[in-house]
Symmetry: D2
Subunit: 354 residues, 4 copies
């Protein structure tokens, strides 16, 4: 029921606001015996952390994870892992100027409508900072999936209209755009810089490729593997769409063009327009999906809005904001994908009698 829990067997519950004391997560269902590499968790958080390049906000969070339970001598015990991340950069500032104003493109208006009021400090729980807890949990999921040979790679496939035309996975972490195409990376960075210079922001697309998933994961009819990925990804505030394999292009295709022919082999598919999923179950091929990422709603250009008295107001948002969220969302997408797959891996353990 709770909107702050995700997964069935490998299951996380998160908490925390942008400007509260701490963010955190309880991870239940971590198989006993899994080695927990704290440095890996910290490194994943570091990938999400702001302030790493000109493309992201200058807010500095050390984002140091602390494990409170569930691990003995570096090994998961089978009891829940709790990880917290203190908010160390809570500038003691005056929020009175935004307390009553609704920022366009933000959740200010809707949180107010839902709860009767809202935590106005930096967006509260609707802040992207909430995803730090997901990344910490996703790192644990990745540790589990690594024992099964699963590898997840997300990347900027498009920023500000600039498309990555090549896919060199080893290049992704080498450029601030997280582009797998080093040639496109520079143009992407320029697009971001241009929008920032215009007191504006810019959107893009994130791709995700997953290898090593065996055929058989996913739980029809409602918890199909693609349905779970879609749930996971659309739970990220900036994501406005998702497509699997050939995705929206299939709308204009014929069946003979879209069906992936089969031939002897494992996996037995000649092409992969399905994106590695058939009937909601992994088919053993590479899983591929793409996300639409909207431009950051926080812009310093003047905007028309209203306050909570329904009075028109002019707004110029100050402070530290990402001119483009695409590069920073990449590790979050990987984390959510890992959480989906860790859960499906365990669920599949129960599918058959033997």
């Amino acid at each position: 029921m709770s909107g702050n829990t995700f997964g069935e067997i490998f299951r996380i519950t998160t908490f925390g606001e942008s400007h509260g004391a701490a963010l955190g997560v309880i991870i239940d269902g971590v198989p006993a015996g899994l080695p927990i590499d704290m440095e890996f968790i910290a490194s994943e958080l570091s990938r999400r952390r702001p302030g790493q390049s000109a493309l992201s906000t200058a807010r500095r969070e050390s984002d140091t994870p602390e494990i409170l339970s569930g691990v003995l001598n570096g090994i998961a015990t089978g009891t829940p892992l709790a990880i917290i991340i203190r908010n160390t950069d809570q500038r003691s500032r005056d929020y009175s100027n935004v307390e009553h104003i609704f920022r366009p493109g933000h959740a200010d208006y809707t949180y107010n409508a839902k709860y009767g009021f809202r935590d106005y400090r930096g967006g509260g729980r609707s802040s992207g900072r909430e995803t730090a807890a997901r990344v910490a949990a996703g790192a644990v999921a990745k540790l589990f999936l690594a024992t099964l040979g699963v590898n997840i790679t997300a990347f900027a496939s498009e920023i500000g209209g600039v498309k990555a035309e090549k896919f060199f996975p080893e290049e992704i972490e080498k450029n601030p755009a997280r582009s797998p195409d080093p040639d496109a990376a520079a143009a992407m960075a320029e697009a971001v810089a241009a929008s920032a210079a215009a007191h504006d922001s810019i959107g893009g697309k994130v791709g995700c490729r997953i290898t090593g998933v065996p055929a058989g994961w996913g739980e029809p009819v409602f918890d199909k593997l693609d349905a779970l990925f879609a749930h996971a990804m659309l739970s990220l505030g900036a994501v406005k769409g998702i497509e699997f394999g050939a995705g929206f292009e299939t709308a204009a295709m014929r069946g003979s063009e879209n069906n992936d022919p089969m031939r002897p082999g494992v996996p037995p598919f000649v092409t992969n327009r399905a994106g590695g999923i058939l009937g909601g179950i992994s088919n053993g091929d590479v899983i591929e999906f793409t996300l639409a990422v909207k431009p950051t709603p926080s812009i310093s250009a003047l905007q028309k809005t209203v306050d909570d008295k329904n009075t028109p107001r002019d707004l110029e948002i100050t402070g530290r904001h990402d001119p483009c969220i695409v590069p920073r969302i990449v590790p979050v997408v990987e984390a959510m994908a890992a959480l989906v797959l860790a859960d499906c891996a365990l669920r599949q353990r129960c599918a058959r009698l033997d």
Copy 2:
């Protein structure tokens, strides 16, 4: 955990295979006192039923729903409603020719991989026929939502590359394509006919517009309203993508272009690029999303495939199949949207102290 249950408070669990004895659903959480209009449920099933036009398969299912529980004198009692739909058109045919062959674009290979074997009779549970149970449940959800003023309208926004350019909701049920643009409807039908003549099938897009949802529905951070819709829609076998509001177009937009300016009013938005959802919570505006629907994988043209001995095989699929699934998926999309919203409406009853 179960992959055959959807929803938290207003919750359905479905069962049934294409060629088994019956399909059905248990609907738990229907508020006591809701009048249950059996004719409406039957009429919704009739909208999904095959054999209604040249655009859909000739298979004839009477699809008569039978309510087994939960209703007294036409009123929901608060106990679970069970509805079953007998499979009356199970042709006693010989399946031995497909029992061991994997149909491209179908779930044959993946069900085998997951469970070790599969129900080869007409696709078993992976058949689109499974959605009849969803439509029956969705009809009950619609009855509840109608008491709240919520109205859901899905439609064919594109078929075979032909786009609906106008939106006349009253036209949708008047043409076999379920196009809101009567001018486009004829071209859509021609596109379907052309693909059928070529022993092929064709894809398209389905749009959905929902009015009357108040601001405040949806449960951050994981059960955001858009995340729940995405989960629901991607659980339909033919759907390969979803986008909300401006969707994939936002990838090339700037924040100043994408943010919906606000002005006094209810809802207070000048435009609706957000698609009626902000921060995962309904904002009171029209909810809008679009789905990519792949071409039906069952085509009678010759296809290359393999059998369960990994031997190459040629396949020509015979029998009754939809040359385009778009028109028939329209009521299913509405049903799934209704299930999401009925659940969110009840969850919102618990959000505040008063």
Copy 3:
């Protein structure tokens, strides 16, 4: 959330009223490949069925189960099993005399309070008849558990103050009291007959012994094995208490008297005051618990009550009622125990990395 669903992986959802069209259950999570023995399911239902002896109601229900899905050629396919049982003995009688009167000891008053009205026909969903669906599902769980060597035996340990002093499991089904002590069985039957002759009913206790459960089942801290059994058993309307192993006697014991000493062996326990569960996890020993079963509230003696206008009324309940529910609840207790254990068996598959 739904109150009509039980279990996490091996999960059932039930429906049905005493005098509706049918009762039934969807069983999700049955491992693919499990042979489904329909005769066994029917025989378990037959054990619960009324009209078998002078100790139970004369109501005649054929209780024939029909499987609607999830089985192919006698083997579970991994998709949900749906089983329905038609209500064939719905006497078309006039309920107007009880429609507005609350029967003492029954749920009439509370259903009214909860839902605003109630299904007054034979108790509706609060009728013990609802448990037929549990027995059908429990039979499937037993089939799964049998593959693991688990055996569940419930029995009347006390009726009307008469205690079973011996435990001969093969005697249980041979006497109408379901007493494991053939000597006590006759006295138990006399106690029931005496209460019936007095237009009254009588209570008792049900014991349950489970062998073959390996050490390790149960999910601390909230889904401890005993907590799940307690949940399952107290969900039966007639059950007013449960105790495990030495149970309430431990309240007056010292630790040195209650702790089970350990010695080399499997299981390594000298005694079994723990009832086979330590820290909420099975310890490999026999699992033992006892239930308090209240006397049937439906008695034909005159009772003081009120109607839904809060007016005092005299009530004499007519019709067919069990003078003692203990014998008939025995197979229901076994069914619920089986459902708990089938779920725990699957959950344990996910506990460890290897």
Copy 4:
């Protein structure tokens, strides 16, 4: 699925080991607008804390709760509340002597069997210390229930065979036994002292009385109110049984003796043998149940046991242990009862159309 989550709408997830860094809980579903009284939470934790009298262990835990999220200016915001309690009294001791030995009556053997190894430091997650997180969450549930007029009172009804014969609720917190009968309190304390002097421990019973619950709470058929209480209470390690109202005494009663006659009024019951619950739904009367609490398994007397090589070992448990857990479990029982009721109160908000 997760065994560390309890509740559906008002839902908690806990973590933490006896000798780890911290214990804690995430409480999801707290209605927005609820004032959060931190001093009350601290005072409830203080009631559970050890070292308060000669009847409990001398271990000193400050048990200071820290709220990390979900509260703004003292008011719940609708987002999850996280509370952590640092373990400040982790004596850095040598556990090598117990690392491989199984303590009788403890979960050592079963945790090993379940997970392949265990956290041997002070019992790890199977320690009673885990319940501190429950008490913190239960305090928040009590704050919510107080707005509805619900009052929960648990107490020692029996210790070491000494029964409380009177019920003066204001006396409970005034004596170290937490007896509602001040005369019995002294004899209870003597029983505890006698068992401690004998290097032993002693068991007892805890009663619970709940007033102010309106008729209508509880969710048939599986989540009956008594089933949920039973689940909650048996999830406490020391509890071996539960009975509602007349409980096990009903086993020897006739229906005419057990049924509570009804007369005009609210609630309309002359007696309360049902314990305030009929058909799994609260009936508006006082809810009453009693728990069997086993003697603390940790005793310093010599015990026979085995180690993880299945070798016989003699064991004398040293360190700080409660000679009787009954007084300290009283606030934990109240907390679990509060969690059950807070959840049911919210679920009932969804029961009816209007």
